[in-house]
Symmetry: C2
Subunit: 224 residues, 2 copies
């Protein structure tokens, strides 16, 4: 069975995983950088962002980086929502948008982009984006096939993570509570009352003020 993993999903104290008003210039809406401020200093981010090649090897190596790095280990494919791929809505006006990440996206694997508006597969650097209109279980089956025995990362956004949690498909959930009150945006936990009962839970506070939660599905991976 393929393991489906969520990593580095940042949530405010009031449960918002992204702010209000997402747009091209503001992928997290009014939250700005605040949900990811713990992540940017890590060696993992500095090494994968590609924007700052001379900084490879720099960055923090504390607990935030230890968790950040796990997102990239043993992954053979990703599933993401369309809003993580780009800010557009509805029909694609054209196909010039190639994602937020420039010409070498950090994924280096197939990425299944869930959208009601499919378009042709798109190769950018070592990453291939597959645009599909699929329910969660079918998306996981496709991604698992693409992953060729490795794990599948569920890359968000929060609405997509919520749908896969509701479907009982998530084996590993790493989320990071950031000590801010965001007030508005997309709530991760809506419709998930009692979801914790299906998981073993471990918690680690970072000196940076964020808290890492690791939830592991009871009964073993792929047990849905």
């Amino acid at each position: 069975m393929t393991t489906l993993r969520v990593h580095n999903l940042a949530i405010s104290l009031d449960g918002f995983a992204t702010g209000e008003g997402q747009a091209l210039e503001t992928p997290f809406g009014h939250a700005g950088h605040r949900l990811m401020d713990w992540y940017f200093p890590t060696r993992t981010f500095v090494s994968t962002s590609g924007h700052d090649a001379e900084a490879v090897g720099a960055g923090t190596r504390g607990v935030d980086d230890a968790f950040a790095a796990m997102a990239w280990q043993g992954i053979g494919a990703e599933i993401m929502g369309r809003r993580k791929f780009g800010p557009q809505q509805g029909e694609w006006e054209d196909e010039s948008w190639r994602g937020w990440w420039g010409e070498e996206p950090p994924f280096h694997t197939p990425v299944v982009v869930l959208t009601h508006h499919p378009r042709p597969d798109l190769a950018v650097g070592e990453t291939t984006f597959l645009f599909r209109d699929l329910p969660p279980a079918d998306a996981l089956a496709l991604a698992a096939e693409q992953a060729e025995g490795l794990d599948v990362r569920l890359g968000g956004g929060p609405t997509v993570v919520r749908e896969f949690l509701q479907a009982g498909l998530v084996d590993h959930l790493h989320f990071v509570v950031v000590p801010i009150v965001l007030g508005r945006g997309v709530r991760l936990w809506d419709g998930l009352e009692g979801i914790e009962s299906g998981f073993d839970i471990e918690v680690t506070a970072s000196p940076t003020g964020v808290v890492h939660y690791v939830w592991t599905r009871r009964g073993g991976v792929g047990s849905a």
Copy 2:
């Protein structure tokens, strides 16, 4: 200046500080005991509950107890909402209700009970309940006078804590995030967007799975 302190305020991952459907039999509504399961094993609870006198001296002495105990140190008065005092609403039908705590409540100080329906002061054991219809700043002034130089504890419930936070009157906020998704109830953080900017924040994860947050008002106590 008097320091106003909140202690042991338990919140679910989705931000609820109490469940839906509060009543005499269910003071936390559908949350049941789940928000306070971390608290009941502590030596502090066992020693103050009074229900189990032979157990005095028993209970855990870990980080949960260390935080729990602080609620009782250096306090000269408490402020609480009417819903913490009892399940009644509207006019008092009679005055036979003397609180949830039996004939020796754990407070041993004056307690200002905020209510739109005042009734005569009530002494129960070493605790005196003062029923008043006051806005937050005036309630704090009264409690501070009663505290005779000691600190004032803001005892909840969540609606009362939210009102005092909005008024900028809270100097010390200790809350405990419990790893459950409650789904319904009273949200602490509504209307408090950005409130964290006024506080220094420290966070400690307990081996029991809860996370203790200590917020200290920037600029010193009583600086509102």
